[in-house]
Every structure is written in C-alpha cells, then in structure tokens.
C-alpha cells in the first residue's frame, strides 16, 4: 500500500484537483492509501473517508518553508508517507524547492523544475507560444493608468484585464477597464496585463511530461458548460490535431516534467495560448474516465517506475460534474480543529 498525500481536496464551487486525482489513484493498479492535505478544516475531502483515508491540516505556504517541511515530516513519521502530489498553484513553489530534501527523507514527487514553473507567468506566454509555433492574443503589460490608456488605444473593446498569475476580467468600457486594473493591481500586484479578446473555441489539454521531452499521455477537451466562476461543469473529449501537436511540442521544447494543462483558443487553424497551469486541472478525473489514468502514471513516475504511455481515446466522451450531499459527525470537524488531523 503506497501512502500518497494529495492536496486540493477542496471540492467546492471553485474545486481543487485533489479528489479527481485520488479517484484516479484508487482506480489504478498500484494499491494506494490516500492522505488528504487541507488548508481549512471545512474542506469537503476531509469528510469523504471512502476517498481520503487520513487528513491533515497544512500550514499556509506563506508561513514559510520550515513549518511546511516539519508538517510533512510529521505526516511521514505518523503515516509512513511515501509520495506527495501537490495540486495547488500557491504551494507548488515550496514543493519544488523542497523536492530534493523531501526525496532524501523518502517522500517522492514528480514536479516541474523551478524554471518550468516560471513559464506559467503570463508575461512568458509569448516566448512559449513562439517556441511551439502557436500564437497568443495581443497582450500589453501595464503598470500605471497612463500605460493602461495607451494599451486601450491599441486594442478594441472588449479586452481582458489580467493579473500576472491569477484572475481575468472582461472589460467592455474604459471605465470598467480602469476599475479592474485597480482591483487586480491591489490583489495581485503589477504588472497588470491588458489582452485582446480572441473569438474562438476554448479548448484545453492535460498531460504529464516525462522530463525528457516525452510524455505519459495527453487528453484534449472542450468545456461545454461552465459555472459563473468559469469552472467546467460539462465537457467533451476532442481530438484537435493542432492542439495535441502543440502540447507535444510544448513538452518536447521544455522537457516538461510532471502534470500540466494548457488553455488555448482555437480559431479555425490558428491556436492562441492563453494559460499554462503547472499541475493537474480540477477536471483531471475526465482523463481517468476515458482510460488515461494520468494521476496513476504520475505516481508511477514519482516511484521511479516506467508508467504506461498509450493515450488513444475517442472524441465525444462526455464529462458531467454534479453536486452531492453528506451527513456526518461533528467529531471529525472537532478533530481537525483541535488536532489538525483525522
């Protein structure tokens, strides 16, 4: 039984990928005992003991490296933790920094390098897109209202106003653009990005790079129905040859290691790169459901085994997310609050 810790077990309206990863691991051939890493005692995954065997509260990554490492070593001591699969952007830099130390303590992972992780910054998309032969929507980085006005005069409305790493709002007027500029700058800092809106199909591809230019499988999808937060609720598999080639070129060009997701807009034959996520997306169970168990393959890679690489899948498989209810004892919540674990 491999003890694997997985974070992102916050299956809420903006769900983390953790439970999808765990479902995949449980359906794989490698026997696992999943341990949930949570940042809040209310994260639903804590209470789903048919998926998550044990759950631990983690210190916020912003508290620094020492408390984070100590907590993981504590879990190692108590549970015999062997592998960790981090699934949240905010914790990834810490896990990447700690990867070799954790490995020395017997906690394996399979993560992008620091340099690969930096590629997700939106001001790096241009160079990535150019290198893999696709486009990006015209994007201008601005740090003041004057620069914002200049950028707006070059683009036509609507425009996207984006933070360097997070958040994207669509502005239809200069007043709206200004308001979003201030709110994104206050929350995520400078520069703020002003981006042309490209009309087309929003498509996504998920995969796991082997770190040597190859990969352990890809899956391309289109989101058919999204929530008000832009999160997938219904989706369908697609076999967009240009998109899949772009993903393979991406993995090859950067020798990508670990999970990734590319968000792309397809306009006829043209592809526009919109976002790179250096981790599994929350809909990762879709890949498992069509027979490409990427979480299990990543686990195998972390364990130093050679994962499967086949990734034939049919177009037209449907993904349906749904809500569910659970009634349980207050005791579980009590343990999480008082002991930080259950």
């Amino acid at each position: 039984m491999i003890k694997v810790a997985v974070s992102g077990i916050n299956a809420v309206d903006n769900p983390g990928p953790g439970l999808g990863i765990i479902k995949g691991l449980r359906q794989g051939k490698i026997p696992v005992a999943p341990i949930g890493l949570a940042y809040d005692a209310m994260e639903p995954g804590i209470y789903l003991d048919h998926l998550v065997e044990r759950a631990y509260l983690m210190p916020y990554p912003s508290e620094g490296e020492a408390p984070f490492l100590n907590r993981l070593l504590y879990i190692k001591e108590k549970e015999g933790l062997e592998v960790v699969i981090p699934a949240l952007d905010a914790e990834l830099p810490l896990f990447i920094d700690l990867e070799s130390r954790l490995s020395a303590y017997g906690i394996k992972s399979f993560l992008p390098t620091k340099e690969q992780f930096r590629l997700r910054a939106k001001d790096r998309l241009q160079e990535v897109a150019r290198r893999i032969g696709i486009k990006i929507p015209q994007t201008l980085a601005v740090t003041s209202i004057k620069e914002l006005e200049e950028a707006l005069s070059e683009l036509s409305f609507p425009v996207m106003i984006k933070g360097l790493f997070y958040k994207a709002l669509k502005a239809y007027t200069p007043a709206e653009a200004q308001q979003y500029f201030y709110s994104i700058a206050a929350e995520w800092g400078y520069p703020v990005l002003v981006q042309e809106v490209v009309e087309g199909e929003e498509v996504n591809v998920v995969g796991v790079g082997d770190g040597e230019g190859g990969h352990f499988g890809l899956l391309a999808i289109k989101k058919l129905w999204i929530t008000s937060l832009g999160k997938i609720w219904t989706g369908v598999t697609i076999t967009h040859s240009g998109l899949l080639k772009a993903a393979e070129d991406f993995v090859r060009a950067y020798a990508w290691r670990g999970a990734f997701e590319l968000e792309v807009i397809a306009q006829d034959e043209d592809l526009y790169l919109v976002e790179i996520n250096p981790r599994f997306p929350a809909w990762i169970y879709f890949a498992v459901g069509v027979g490409i168990n990427l979480p299990e393959r990543l686990l195998a890679a972390a364990l130093g085994q050679e994962p499967e690489r086949s990734w034939d899948y049919p177009a037209g498989k449907l993904y349906i997310r749904f809500t569910d209810d659970l009634v349980t004892e207050l005791e579980v919540f009590q343990h999480m609050v008082t002991r930080g674990e259950r």
Binding site: E201, V203, I221, K222, L224, G235, V236, T237, I238, T239, H240, S241, A266, D268, A315, G316
Partner: protein, 80 residues
Amino acid sequence: MKLNRLAISEEGFIFDPETGNSYTVNETGLKVLKALRAGQSPSEIAEALSEEFEISVPEALRDVEEFLESLKRFRLWEES
C-alpha cells in the same frame, strides 16, 4: 474538407471531434450533408431534392445555398 471529420448520426446529430461542437439537422439537412460528403455539387443536390420534393430546381438550389451559408457560418464549409 472539414465535413469529412464530422460524426453524423442517423438521427441528425452532428459532432465535430476537433472543436467539440455539436449541431442538429433535420432530415433534409442530413441528406444534403451526406451528399456534400459524397462529393456532390450544390446543383446536383438541388436536382435530387427537386425530384424528391417536387419543387423547382432554382427553389431547391436556393435552399441548398442557404444551408451552405449556415455551414459556412459554423466554419464547416469552404467554397472550393
């Protein structure tokens, strides 16, 4: 041709495996799509429709062209 990649069901449900988009067509639309895929020209299709539905060839051709306009709008058809 983009039409060749479409999955077309006998019920008139059309799925584009590249974009993930789906469409529905009626019985006549289904006939036209299949004929286009078989390489028939719009005027050949109009002639067949005019015989089947007992309408004039120009009238049938107008309907076929209107249908082609819709396909163009969905970027499924390009004039060769």
